[in-house]
Symmetry: C2
Subunit: 311 residues, 2 copies
């Protein structure tokens, strides 16, 4: 059994690759909920939805998030009403948010609501939130502290990144599904997907029960670098690293994850960094990491599984 | 200045006719909110929306409610998720509910939220809720008491009608806009639109401040019969009257409104009922009341205004 820790698009793609090579009971994907927020009265979980839509094969392949063939009639109408239209809510995607919000109001946990949605979408592998308690990523910037979606979507990551705070993390517990996977006798490895280490993985590590379980693990923990050739495949990671005074590179990712992971998967473009990363005490696997299609998703997943099987 | 009391489709059509012949400052439409309900976390005001969409010329003319050219992608997606899809929520219509709910959460009154929405829709005449406090119509049936939308939409008025209860009406006050119209020195007449007397008008009369102001009025109050030729133009009124032991007819409407109104507008199809209605002490105007298009809406509105001007 494999446990994958995932954020948004990059995490969802590797999760989809792992789902291609592992049976349903052989994979649990634990997803960042630090990006979750309340908007227009809806409980929105961007990363959970991206993973769910991707595993269901229903995602928009061009933009990575949202549903394929989506329409935007509600959003256009909301804009005409002067409403808060800065967060892109597709018409079909709205049903997910309305249904999740309704189930939470009825007393369901986020884990329950997620399981029901995944079942309705035909997702067979386990997709679980990192926690059922709210953890809210707050981004400290040169313009002050911003709620995550204010920084990420409304301001398009324009303010200079200074640091992060994970509101509620101290009080949060790992979700039942994540805890079960972490404690499963059959657990073979933990994979940190090529998600943003700061925005997608750090919120999980901020939950004491998750950090502790990862420290006490008896199985290999490997990460896939989201930085390829000095640039982030998607998202603001490279910009954030530079603003934090660090040149974005797979080596910087390795330095960030050193002490947590046993190995790092890096792209062929970064093969020259192998010795420096090994010098940090990490095992290194060099392969093609750009998951441009389902075949490459599966190939990367297989490379990761081969790496942990070799240990 | 004319004050119109309106419910859903029939009320909206006469309101649109009055809006054709009266200047913006010459008409206030006070709308039933007894049908309002919370659904999927949204604050939905079916009658306010029907009046607003109709006055904006944005309504679906075929079904009478909702927006023209509407799509149903959210609803189809919600149905696929096993969600509560029994109430027809169109994609564009959703923006109205989301925006209203957001404004109410932010502390706006229903009157404020309604005024903002009407302005965004380009509605120039005043459309106001009957009250800013919640009044909820409960329908007593042979299967027990049902929330209005459960009776009206979910059960399609199938249970036998026994009676009505208007939860919250005793504690409710007329909305500021309705009160202002009722007390306006320039008020010339009050018109009860051809809405369901039981479901659309009764909730207003259940608000003590509205009933009192109508009793103390110094201007004519006339109603338009929603029953034409023994049948309701739209909706369950005829069925409800029969279940209440009354043959549906313009005379029965006159009997219902006797003591409240000074006159009744009836359709040419019901001209034979004129003496019996006059016998109740009501003035009678016989005209074409089926508002099949904008011209007939205007013609009926003009007939109503002529009737009150003659008094």
């Amino acid at each position: 059994m494999i446990l994958a820790l995932a954020g948004g698009v990059g995490g969802a793609r590797l999760a989809a690759g792992l789902a291609q090579v592992l049976p349903p009971q052989g994979l649990t994907v634990a997803v960042n909920t630090g990006d979750d927020f309340e908007h227009l009265g809806l409980h929105i979980c961007p990363d959970l939805d991206t993973v769910m839509y991707t595993l269901a094969g229903r995602h928009d392949p061009a933009q990575g998030w949202g549903l394929a063939g989506e329409t935007w009639h509600m959003l256009q109408a909301l804009q005409a009403l002067g409403g808060e239209a800065w967060f892109r809510l597709g018409d079909r995607d709205l049903a997910t948010h309305l249904q999740r919000s309704q189930r939470l109001r009825e007393g369901a946990s986020l884990s329950q609501a997620t399981a029901e949605l995944c079942q309705a979408f035909g997702v067979q592998h386990a997709v679980v939130p990192m926690s059922d308690q709210p953890v809210r990523t707050r981004v400290q910037t040169d313009e002050g502290e911003l709620a995550f979606q204010d920084y990420f979507v409304r301001r398009r990551c324009a303010p200079r990144f200074v640091g992060l705070r994970f509101e509620g993390a101290e009080q949060a517990q790992p979700s039942p599904g994540l805890l079960q996977a972490l404690q499963a006798p059959g657990l073979q490895a933990i994979v940190v997907c090529p998600s943003n280490p700061l925005l997608s993985i750090q919120p999980m590590l901020a939950v004491p029960g998750i950090a502790q379980a990862l420290r006490q693990r008896r199985v290999p923990l490997v990460a896939v670098s989201p930085i390829v050739g000095g640039a982030a495949v998607k998202g603001p990671l490279a910009k954030m690293m530079m603003e934090a005074g660090q040149a974005p590179s797979a080596l910087a990712v390795a330095q960030h994850y050193a002490g947590l992971v046993d190995g790092l998967v890096i792209d062929e473009a970064d093969a020259a960094l192998r010795p420096a990363i090994q010098h940090l005490g990490l095992q290194v696997c060099v392969t093609q990491t750009l998951m441009v299609d389902a075949d490459r998703q599966r190939a990367l997943a297989q490379a990761v599984l081969d790496m942990v099987a070799r240990r």
